[in-house]
């Protein structure tokens, strides 16, 4: 059980997030938690709930709302992912997602800087936060580092070599992540094209996806991207991942057809998912997720 102080911080943080988005004209939405077809993503496993599934993210429903003509929406909700448990993971966790039309991932990065500063103010933390003894400055522009540059600077091999050698995740986790977000938070951006299942490829450079992650003191907090709005390409990517899931003996679930239909009506847009529990960890200076939620699966 976390301390009452942390639960107060958690509540204040969530209320301050709401205030930030409401102020900016975002519409708060609450889409269903139980859905027939989660996005087929190879490394994310949905929890079955009867014939349907618990959402791994509200992404598909929110993009349908965006396509239906709501230009700015946000949601704070529970998401579920099987087999994810560690000091930084819970199989049920709280997610903040927001989407905006006529925007790209650079617009989102700027908005993230503004959100974090607003939240730190709201919590009375001033312009910096202290994580694992590390003072991270929120004021001013944050570090922006492409994946290729991060591997060059911090890795024992290039991103291309790591991908070819099948050890991209190992190098990222073991060598790169611990060096990110130490002075200011870091935006790690422009991921290899195959690592952005729902992201748009960079115009003029089809080898990278317009995707970014936020890191604070080595902890990954958010994943955002310019949305892929081409239903044909999106279907091709889903089919590829579904085939690989079937090979591994996993139930890929049905194809999310209503989402693919809606995608045809979606203009340029960008969206982001931010782990609220991790954000509380960072703001409260906690080093394990267990310290910032009222209960864990083990204490229920």
């Amino acid at each position: 059980m976390p301390s009452a102080r942390v639960l107060w911080q958690r509540a204040t943080l969530i209320q301050t997030i709401r205030a930030f988005f409401v102020d900016r004209g975002y519409l708060e939405v609450d889409t269903p938690v139980r859905i027939p077809a989660p996005a087929p993503e190879l490394h994310i496993e949905a929890e079955p709930a009867g014939e349907w599934f618990l959402q791994t993210s509200p992404e598909l429903c929110m993009k349908r709302l965006l396509a239906a003509g709501l230009p700015r929406i946000f949601q704070i909700c529970k998401c579920f992912r099987r087999h994810e448990r560690g000091s930084r993971h819970l199989p049920e966790f709280t997610m903040l997602e927001w989407y905006r039309s006529d925007s790209d991932y650079h617009d989102l990065m700027v908005e993230c800087e503004e959100l974090f500063r607003f939240l730190a103010d709201g919590l009375g933390l001033g312009g910096k936060i202290t994580v694992a003894g590390q003072e991270v400055a929120l004021a001013g522009p944050w570090e922006r580092l492409t994946v290729a540059e991060a591997f060059r600077r911090h890795g024992s091999m290039s991103a291309a070599q790591a991908l070819a050698g099948g050890c991209f995740d190992e190098v990222l986790v073991g060598e790169i992540e611990p060096r990110l977000g130490l002075v200011t938070p870091t935006f790690l951006f422009d991921y290899p094209a195959e690592l952005g299942a729902l992201a748009r490829l960079k115009p003029g450079d089809a080898t990278v996806a317009e995707r970014f992650e936020i890191y604070v003191a080595g902890l990954e907090l958010a994943n955002g991207f310019s949305e892929l709005t081409d239903p044909v390409e999106q279907r091709r990517r889903f089919e590829y991942d579904r085939a690989r899931m079937a090979q591994l003996g996993r139930n890929p679930g049905p194809m999310p057809e209503p989402f693919l239909d809606a995608l045809a009506h979606l203009g340029p847009a960008a969206g982001i998912a931010l782990g609220v529990d991790r954000l509380v960890m960072v703001m409260a200076g906690a080093d394990a997720m267990d310290q910032v939620v009222p209960f864990t699966p083990e204490t229920l």
Partner: protein, 187 residues
């Protein structure tokens, strides 16, 4: 058979025919990436530690470990002999394999012998043992120098700090996990 998702601190697994204990464990999963199980483990025979990262599909054998209650018989050179009091089977372990346990071992003591694939690889003594003090400086009554412990030697040759009132010939209880004095045993 274990899979990577069973990994946790304290789990004992078999790799290439040797037993390992997981001493550190961290679950990692970069955004949109695969689950990684980062561990540090120690070879239970050699004591060597190393770090290794596993993926979800990796599988391991359970280490074929068994603990048997045995009696300490005698030491001969560097060999320490134990006997299973039910089957009368005898086994020997080296001084090195016993580690700190030799500080607490006296004849006929019941201990737990850890076996890997039928071979003895370690011994766990009882949590509390009672040993006789063989050498102790006398307690200078009225000594107010402020030192509140003194060193004594027990029958196994082990030296530890005890309160000043402990005298030669007395029995004391020792916590074998810490090697520290617990209390005087009234005879």
């Amino acid at each position: 058979m274990y899979t990577a998702s069973d990994l946790r601190k304290g789990l004992k697994i078999s790799i290439d025919g040797e037993p390992y204990i997981v001493t550190e464990f961290q679950f990692a999963k970069p955004g949109k990436g695969q689950a990684l199980y980062r561990t540090k483990m120690r070879n239970m025979i050699t004591g060597n530690s190393f770090e290794r990262t596993f993926r979800s599909n990796d599988k391991f054998e359970k280490a074929p470990l068994e603990e048997r209650s045995m009696q300490f018989l005698y030491a001969q050179g560097d060999e320490y002999h134990f006997m299973d009091t039910q089957s009368y089977e005898q086994m020997a372990l080296s001084k090195e394999q016993l580690g700190d346990t030799i500080n607490f071992l006296i004849d006929n003591m019941e201990v737990d012998v850890l076996l890997f694939d039928g071979r003895p690889i370690g011994v766990t003594p009882p949590t509390f043992v009672e040993l006789s003090v063989t050498t102790a400086d006398p307690w200078a009554k009225g000594d107010t120098s402020g030192t509140d412990t003194k060193p004594v030697t027990v029958e196994t040759g082990y030296v530890l700090q005890v309160p000043p009132f402990i005298e030669e010939g007395e029995k004391i209880q020792i916590d074998t996990r810490t090697g520290e004095y617990v209390t005087r045993v009234k005879s």
